[in-house]
Symmetry: C2
Subunit: 338 residues, 2 copies
């Protein structure tokens, strides 16, 4: 099943069921007005939503309208929980290597996660607003899951059963604000502005064999200003799977329905700078920081700039048959108007 949220009807938007081919959608106010409302009551309403989905896919939905990702907000325009992992250790290792730091051994057994802010996500086609290019604006292409309620102390096996939806994420980062912020000791804050999610959230069965072992085994495709930039497989080199990430969150607290847990920047371990870019036959990158790190390791300093006003990033994932699964995140960087 595929679900989206239109930018109408209030702060949480209006829930629509979207056809598998992303061409049509239908609002389902009689079942659940918003995606959060559906998640709050998932066991009760998901079967009804599936019925609408079946009708849409068979051309029998009477009130279907054309689906336009440009009218979408993030599936959850605001959420109660957004916690992001760094499950692709290669990304962590690379970023640390650039500043001469070793990767602690514990990073292979203890997931690295940060608590994100979730009150004001931006839509999948909204501009990335920043007051200054000097902030070092970067995209981070990721996969995320949305959970049902999870009890404190739940095992990874138990957490696997509580995953309801999958989405793509652009976890925007302000790289030049990170060093000072991390030096303060309390983690990211101003350096992690509002994230954006794919137009559509899908139930795991939509990925078929692409979803197993708690991982999404499909390439995540990133385009920067129209040029292919990355297509690493999200199922490769993911050290911790989603159930393990959720269990990490649940160790000392409950999770409420609608919690979003991110994978961290997707990153496949490759040989080095020259073999890893798409132009050179590699799978490329899901953020600018990685290529800048390769450049720093190999040439002493980064060459690729961070995003400038007007730059555009596109993030999407296709099925094995080449069909668009989530719709594309496509965002342009723009200056804050004062």
């Amino acid at each position: 099943m595929k679900l989206a949220t239109l930018k109408q009807g209030g702060r949480d938007g209006t829930l629509v069921v979207v056809s598998r081919d992303l061409t049509r959608c239908q609002s389902v106010g009689g079942i659940a007005r918003t995606l959060q409302a559906a998640l709050d009551d998932w066991d009760k309403v998901s079967a009804e939503l599936e019925l609408v989905y079946d009708m849409l896919n068979h051309g029998h939905a009477r009130h279907a309208i054309a689906f336009d990702p440009a009218l979408c907000h993030s599936p959850l325009p605001r959420a109660y929980q957004w916690a992001d992992g760094s499950a692709y250790i290669n990304h962590v290792e690379l970023v640390r290597k650039a500043r001469g730091a070793e990767l602690p051994e514990s990073f292979h057994t203890d997931p690295l996660m940060y608590q994100g802010g979730s009150d004001s996500f931006i839509g999948p086609r909204d501009a990335i607003i920043a007051a200054s290019e000097d902030w070092g604006i970067d995209f981070e292409a990721e996969v995320a899951v949305v959970t049902d309620d999870v009890r404190m102390g739940a095992s990874a096996d138990e957490c696997a059963q509580r995953i309801r939806l999958l989405m793509l994420v652009n976890d925007v980062s302000l790289r030049n604000l990170i060093p000072n912020e991390l030096a303060k000791g309390f983690g990211f804050f101003q350096s992690k502005p509002a994230s954006a999610f794919s137009p559509v959230a899908v139930t795991p069965d939509e990925l078929g064999m692409g979803w197993h072992d708690g991982r999404v085994h499909l390439p995540l495709r990133v385009t920067l200003n129209g040029q292919p930039f990355g297509c690493p497989n999200a199922g490769v080199d993911m050290t911790f799977n989603f159930p393990q990430l959720i269990a990490h969150v649940a160790k000392t607290r409950e999770l409420e329905a609608g919690s979003i847990i991110g994978s961290g920047t997707v990153s496949n371990k490759q040989g080095g700078l020259y073999g890893s870019s798409i132009a050179n036959g590699g799978v490329g990158y899901c953020c600018l920081a990685e290529v800048r790190t390769y450049e720093t390791i190999e040439g002493g300093k980064p060459q690729t700039p961070f995003m400038r006003f007007g730059d555009r990033v596109r993030i999407e994932m296709l099925s094995e048959r080449g069909e668009d699964i989530f719709g594309a995140i496509e965002q342009q960087v723009a200056p804050l108007e004062r």
Copy 2:
């Protein structure tokens, strides 16, 4: 005006207006079913809520019932944003001193804040559940504000106009999980389980002269197992006021209505261990970590244990006339049942 949320009617509970003396309350479903709904539409509904408040205070509310803090959830049982400052630099300095670290000069000009999780707050009389006493269970008594929408880049003066409500907080911390977690570089995560808030949230005018300069100028009273433990004045030694903390959050993102911004552990600068405890004429502490730090500085190691199962903490604030403003947070530590 005083508002509370009863544990009935769904995940977000039921909004009630509470009389100034905390004896009676009335549900206001016709105006706003939940506190988040009221905050989403504050300009429109607050005047109507104030009318109910006036009637309650004058004994004219026709459907008033007795107000029982034990039936309350936190005013926002789940929120979209919970960011906590460390505005009392004395607390930060003390905790760092215990581990031999200096306070960076920038800490006096650049607020220290962490992004908290907000999907599953616990009620003001709920147990603090932990799987192990070895986690180093500590309370942290704080003050918090709830904001309206705040635009990205808003000045502190502008932020001051966006404060809608005040609450007390118990920002529970698992001290023994903190060192490893901070060493990983991404800030608190498992070490900050669910927080609890006071039974009642109040509009700033309820504090009279106690609210000025963006600070709450009243003692925050903490009792541990029935013994007075702290009563520092929340208006003293608060290096950054609430408008400054909000502006710090808003530098790179918007805040949505219903965002909760905490002060950090209230802490007044005192002379040292022996002069600072209430028994010795001081104003005491708002967390166990501080007294343990004094003990470490003066005696080489901490003496006071962290909270054990069965221990009880009470946090409240009285007006200058001795009236209970927010109702008391009162929580007992209990083991996780598996």
